[in-house]
């Protein structure tokens, strides 16, 4: 891990920070910290927010499909959405395998990231350059 002093003042852009103040995000971080106190923190940089979102989207897809059958879940997952999640709601962009969700810019201050701008909902704008 990089020491806090080494990143002081640096900016970061991610989908979730612990300082996000919407009720669900606050409830979620409180739940996690209560269940798992210690050094393994719930952060976006460690993929926790993405994993949470992915599992909840999968849950929604299984419920819509009414079955865990792979092909049915894939179809439902293509347009799955969650009303609440770390950083806000999220939804799959049909046909892209990417998620439309909120993004934030934050700055490192004394070992924590302070949100300096909420960018709102961002489209994934999948870049296919170099793949085709």
């Amino acid at each position: 891990m990089v020491q806090a002093a080494h990143v002081e003042g640096l900016y970061s852009c991610l989908d979730y920070y612990q300082g996000i103040s919407d009720p669900f995000s606050k409830e979620l971080i409180n739940q996690y910290n209560k269940l798992y106190p210690g050094s393994a923190k719930f952060t976006a940089g460690s993929a926790c927010s993405g994993l949470y979102r992915g599992l909840r989207l999968w849950e929604g897809a299984v419920k819509e499909a009414g079955s865990p059958r792979q092909e049915d879940v894939i179809k439902a997952l293509d347009h799955a959405k969650i009303a609440e999640g770390p950083g806000g709601p999220a939804e799959m962009v049909p046909g892209q395998h990417h998620v439309r969700m909120n993004m934030y810019i934050a700055q490192a201050k004394n070992g924590n990231f302070k949100i300096v701008e909420s960018l709102g909902v961002i489209d994934p704008k999948e870049c296919m350059q170099g793949i085709k």
Partner: protein
């Protein structure tokens, strides 16, 4: 991960690949914690349509991981169809060749 009890004999195995030891364990342990937390929440609210989610072996809903698992002989499920895996594989080989 430790498996939870089943509900009515029907369950869905859910797996993630994370680093539980080593330099990246600060991420991997947190990821495993999140998976267990979400699965417990899903089951506490009734499961996914009478199915119970269970933490299980190794799987990840990502084409690259699925390819690696598939090449290693893994036969489990993935949120990618066979055709998607083949397409991704062809793109990868084109880029790397």
């Amino acid at each position: 991960m430790k498996e939870s009890t089943t509900s009515g004999g029907r369950s869905i195995k859910v797996g993630v690949i994370t680093d539980q030891t080593g330099a990246l364990s600060f991420c991997g342990i947190a990821n495993a914690n999140v998976a267990k937390m979400v699965i417990n929440d899903i089951n506490a609210s009734g499961g996914s349509q009478s199915y119970e989610a269970r933490p299980a072996g190794s799987s990840r809903c990502d084409l690259r991981w699925h390819l690696q698992l598939h090449e290693a002989g893994y036969q489990g499920s993935c949120l990618a169809s066979r055709s998607e895996v083949d397409t991704w594989s062809a793109r990868t080989s084109t880029r790397t060749s």
